[in-house]
């Protein structure tokens, strides 16, 4: 079975080699858990180390801020963009909705735009950060589900391996914000911030990965100055 490595230290061991190509993965977790960093590492490593054209769609932060923030981990996004293998589009949601209103665009137009970029640039790895903001543009649960399914199907059919980030409420065991996201993806990776005394300990678990074997334990990870590092042999909770 061919798998594509994420390039994130320790994570590929949890995933028994990496992700299956052409699959959609939901990466959920509370604010500050490092979703954007993990997602960025996945696409940045893809472009820089595995020769796979990658696309990062931001709906939270501006591109400039993201470039600056990721630069602190040593990810030179400007250089990667200049080399033509890494693409970053989008911006803060307010700015995106402003442009959408200006040209009377809807979510399907945004999906169409992502499709156009994927096709024209031969993209193989995609990150949508975050899916919550995209679904916020739709009113009913049915619309949310349909748009997410359309996005996931489109990316899969074009052979893209995709990470969709989703912010969950702190302290809950929910896999996603609206409870619909996990049903349209092939895999779910959850990040936790568990309070231990006066500090939060980050934990990561692969909850679902269709068609692929994976580690079932909650493992410890850290956000270091080189990005996220997962400790695939360290369990979050000791056995009693």
């Amino acid at each position: 079975m061919i798998k594509i490595p994420t390039g994130i230290e320790g994570m590929d061991m949890m995933l028994k080699g990496g992700l299956l190509p052409g699959r959609n993965i939901l990466l959920s977790g509370p604010a500050g858990s490092g979703k954007s960093t993990i997602a960025m590492q996945f696409v940045y490593n893809g472009a820089q180390h595995y020769g796979e054209p990658s696309l990062y769609v931001t709906l939270e932060e501006s591109k400039e801020k993201l470039i600056e923030d990721m630069g602190k981990f040593g990810f030179d996004l400007k250089k990667a963009s200049a080399m033509g293998k890494f693409h970053i589009v989008g911006g803060p949601m307010a700015k995106v909705t402003h442009f959408m209103q200006k040209v009377d665009a809807d979510v399907l137009n945004l999906i169409g735009e992502i499709e156009e970029i994927v096709k024209s640039e031969g993209i193989k790895r995609v990150v949508i950060d975050s899916i919550n903001l995209l679904t916020m543009l739709m009113k009913t649960e049915r619309e949310k589900r349909e748009a997410l399914a359309a996005l996931a199907n489109m990316l899969s059919s074009l052979g893209c391996t995709t990470i969709l980030t989703s912010e969950t409420e702190e302290g809950t065991m929910k896999l996603s914000r609206y409870g619909v996201e996990e049903f349209i993806v092939d895999g779910v990776v959850v990040l936790y911030l568990v309070r231990q005394g006066s500090r939060f300990v980050p934990g990561i678990v692969v909850r679902k990965m269709r068609g692929s074997n994976h580690d079932k334990e909650i493992r410890v990870y850290k956000i270091t100055d080189k990005g996220v590092v997962v400790y695939p042999t360290e369990t979050m909770f000791g056995k009693i």
Binding site: P92, H98, F99, V103, A105, N109, L110, I117
Partner: protein, 200 residues
Amino acid sequence: MKKIKIDWRFGVFILVMVVIYLVVFLFPGSQNEFSLDPSAKEEFWRFGTYQFAHLDWSHLIQNIVTLGLVSFIAVELKTRFKFFSINYFLAGLVAVLPLWIISPFVALGASVAIYSCFGYFSPKTKQFKLKVWLIIIGIKVFIFLKPILTLISGAEGFGFALKQSLAHLSGFVFGLLGFYMFKEVDKFLTKRKQYVLRRA
């Protein structure tokens, strides 16, 4: 059962047009006041009014019925109302002009605008796996049926019938060109809509 969504704007469009046609028709001397008349070239507003004026009740009813048919076909062919209505009014305004400038004649009625709809619809029939060129030829034959029959029967009025058919043909050609023009406009608008993330 799948719910069919019908664009209610086509219904409103027919209603509004029927009201305008009736008001204009009932206006005393409307045929003289609103028609496109070579003897009143300086009254430029007639370019905008002639499509709403009708000769008699039969002319009016004939055009209302055909307009109803045209709107029904528009819904069936899933025509975008925005483009349909722009094409309709624009054709009523300018489609007859080339012919009128070459050979001026008294023109009135909505038939040029209505024929432009048939021109607009012709390429859309492709969705029903119909041969577009066959549809176009069929409509053209229908347009020239009256002068052909007049010529064959030897009856009077061949010249008028031919001029009328040529006006209808200009409407039809306008609609046909309109379809391809609006297709490009639509492409451009869609492309604009799909340039949000890269702009943000």
